[in-house]
Symmetry: C2
Subunit: 110 residues, 2 copies
Amino acid sequence: MGATKTDHFTDKQNAIATLAKAIGHPARVAIIEYLMKVDTCICGDIVNELPLAQPTVSQHLKELKNAGLIKGNIEGNAICYCIDEKAIEKLQNYFGNISTKLTTKKNNCC
Amino acid sequence: MGATKTDHFTDKQNAIATLAKAIGHPARVAIIEYLMKVDTCICGDIVNELPLAQPTVSQHLKELKNAGLIKGNIEGNAICYCIDEKAIEKLQNYFGNISTKLTTKKNNCC
DNA sequence: AATCTTTATCGCAATATTGCAATCTGAAAA
DNA sequence: TTTTCAGATTGCAATATTGCGATAAAGATT
């Protein structure tokens, strides 16, 4: 009890949940938006941008990386993080499909 | 500490995070997909469809409703739940914007 | 080598989430 | 009214997440 029963659901469902869960925290939304805003993606200064301590930011980055939403490249002693387009596209497609199916179905009981 | 510092982030960031967090669980992904699959949205049998007990399903529905992803209509002593298109559209737009911005920017350091 | 700079990890406390048995509520049916 | 049925709520135990201070790891700089 307390642990998510991931094994009872399909791989696709778990995959979407994992991506969504990673975005389900404002700090991580802010990180993604910052990565978009910055032209160069030398990203050590995310810590300065966010109201969180360095270890906390590091952990959020780790979770985003585990979920496959961002990639990291070592560059000297700094690290270059950037968004992985594939993950974003997966989400876009997923919600796009739901949206179109909903409008064609016109289920209007609510 | 352990509480999310929502007040340090923008309303938009918190809004996206709230929606994403609600989808960030395979059971809730399964609920949404079931609501799409069923033509009529008389939805009491979600419990039969999922490998979870009734109180657990009820709580997941509550969280989806709180996040604004689904709506519920009382119909007799049953309840008709269905997806709120607006929330899905918000997510679709959000990830669509990111996707297009990424392809135009061509940031290829990773 | 000694130091600085950048990022990751450890360990902890506070809080949140997940899941369910038991129970409650309220409408329909008998 | 009593029973029944669909859902919600309560209360609890197990686990996960959030956040940060302290520290570690590793390349850069002096």
